[in-house]
């Protein structure tokens, strides 16, 4: 939230995690640094094996970093065991205690903290209400559905009022509709409790819709941190641009850099204005990305020219795949209307218009 003073809840400083030893050693995290602000919904996004879950486990205390510091409000918690960290986790498998009732599960953390019985009871009731599970308080966890288990897991982790809540792909076991519902529910809970959420997912759509900020990870490194808008519209690297949404990559000659902008001359000879990845000084040649929905197809001459190769109908929109005269491939996404078709046919000679402020120069 920009209107609040930025205070960091978690600071990860130069953290590395190396598994194995000798030749078989693997760096799951390679000198990662990131700051997570108080009260933000922060997402670690990346494909499986990128190190996002390892980073979460280090923050939770289930594993210890090989090097580096993890600060919780300025205090290094990296060497502390999990039961001494005011941080709670929602597990991918929920990990509800099968021999306890829903209410006992939710109260477990408070009980371990040695809170008085009356206080635990009140807090459990409050949590049950928060996740709308009052009616099932006395049930065993095996007797409730997956979505309900999810809610109990959330309530259990929130009950001790942790300073930071860690969520390890908590929605991956739910079906599509329930997942959508829980996404909204999670946002609501974060808003109501005011607790900092760190959410791990490999689902880019989930990350874009829920997060205040996203860190995109690959091969043990954080490639870019930014708002969903930043990550989608101003990707810094090819991996980020490729992993999130669909995009078109074009080779361009760069001239006139300055003020975070550059002039990019495409292979077609057209020169367009493009934004430049933060902190990057492009040299002669670079890759430029344009999202399919930021370009328009025309029967006249455009910034690029080519031949329609394929047309794919998606309901809300149509994807038109074009083979450019330069040999590159380009996809245009066109919003559908009820009236006619998309107006183009396979084999048509077409031009492509690239909108103002549609192009971004990548770091690599």
């Amino acid at each position: 939230m920009p209107d609040k003073p930025d205070r960091n809840a978690i600071e990860v400083v130069n953290v590395s995690k190396i598994f194995g030893s000798g030749e078989g050693q693997v760096a799951a995290l390679d000198k990662v640094s990131v700051s997570i602000r108080e009260n933000e919904f922060f997402t670690l996004l990346g494909p499986s094996g990128c190190g996002k879950t390892t980073l979460l486990r280090l923050i939770a205390g289930f594993d210890f970093p090989t090097a580096g510091e993890i600060l919780l409000y300025g205090q290094d918690i990296a060497p502390l065991p999990p039961f001494k960290r005011p941080v709670n986790t929602v597990f991918q498998s929920y990990a509800l205690f099968p021999h306890m009732t829903v209410a006992d599960n939710i109260g477990f953390g408070l009980e371990m903290l040695g809170k008085p019985k009356a206080e635990i009871k009140a807090r459990v009731a409050e949590m049950l209400k928060l996740v709308k599970m009052e009616a099932l308080a006395g049930r065993r966890t095996a007797q409730i559905s997956g979505g309900q288990q999810q809610r109990v897991a959330l309530a259990r982790a929130l009950a001790p009022q942790p300073k930071v809540l860690l969520l390890d792909e908590p929605l991956s076991a739910l079906d599509y509709k329930l997942r959508k519902e829980m996404q909204i529910e999670l946002k609501r809970l974060q808003h109501e409790t005011g607790i900092t959420f760190i959410f791990v997912t490999h689902d880019q759509e989930e990350a874009l819709t829920m997060s205040d900020r996203i860190a995109v990870m690959s091969s043990g490194k954080i490639l870019q941190v930014g708002s969903p808008w930043d990550i989608y519209d101003k990707p810094a690297e090819r991996f980020v641009a490729d992993f999130i949404g669909e995009t078109n990559f074009l080779t361009a000659a760069i001239s006139g850099t300055g003020n975070g902008k550059a002039r990019a001359t495409l292979k077609s000879g057209t020169t367009i204005e493009a934004t430049v990845a933060e902190g990057f000084q492009p040299k002669d040649n670079a890759t430029v990305v344009v999202r399919p929905e930021h370009a328009k197809l025309t029967k006249d001459k455009g910034d690029l020219s080519g031949t329609v190769e394929n047309i794919v109908y998606f309901g809300t929109d149509t994807h038109i795949h074009v083979q450019l005269d330069s040999g590159e491939a380009f996809t245009v996404r066109q919003q559908n209307t009820r009236s006619a078709g998309c107006g183009f046919e396979r084999g048509d000679k077409v031009g492509i218009l690239i909108g103002n402020d549609a192009a971004q120069v990548l770091r690599d």
């Binding site: 939770a60 205390g61 289930f62 065991p81 999990p82 039961f83 001494k84 941080v87 709670n88 986790t89 597990f91 498998s93 990990a95 509800l96 205690f97 099968p98 021999h99 477990f108 953390g109 371990m112 903290l113 259990r156 982790a157 001790p160």
Partner: protein, 266 residues
Amino acid sequence: MASNFSIKHQPGFTTIAATCFVVLYLPIVVLVIYAFNAATSTSEWGGFSLKWFQSAYQNTQVIDATLRSFQIGSIAAVLSTIFATMAALATTRTASYPGLTFKYAAINQPLMVPEIVTGVALLIFFSRIKIFTGYSGIGYLVAAHTAFCIPFAYLPIRARLENMDLTLERAAADLYATPWKTFRRITLPLLWPGILAGLMLAFVISLDDVVITEFVKSGGQDTLPTYMLGQIRRGITPEINAISTAFLLLSVAIVTLFFFVSRKRD
């Protein structure tokens, strides 16, 4: 032919299966029937009677041996289950390391070493201690039974621990439970069926032992099986059948209970 091969449809299958069952169960059936024989002989039928059960019940040596069997069995079962639980925790709640397989083997050693070898070894070992300390009580039998019961208690407990979701313990730690509290509140309650199964199995194994007990016991320390063996040497009466039948019932009851306990709550 390749489709639907079933051993049941091979020639001779029924005959072999039936023979196995007959060999297994017919002697036991005969033994049980003759326990109710009114005659003194074990070879001719003299009508139905419960007198041999009564006679066994009034035989102080039988009662004495039975009580000793129960005493040794229960102490050995409890001790071996405690040790087995600790061993199972130590061998499952750890990352794999060189030598772990060797430890499994060492714990299960009594399953592999012939009983007669263990019996002789313990006889020699304990006789030295007896000379040294002068103690010749039931402790030697308890120690021996505890030792060979450990693998039987260990196996169901370890199986249970290996199937347990480790995330549960992690979740408890995440919710401020110290390692001891995690064990008390999460691991132990979930492990309980395995522990009970191990306990009962160990008890039955101890109750049943002849070879090692025969070597280790001092005079006047007969357990029920060694007493029966001693009686048979002097000729069989239907009293032995009656004792065996009672023993059989008890074993079946415990094993059945074991079966239900280990199946329940999964």
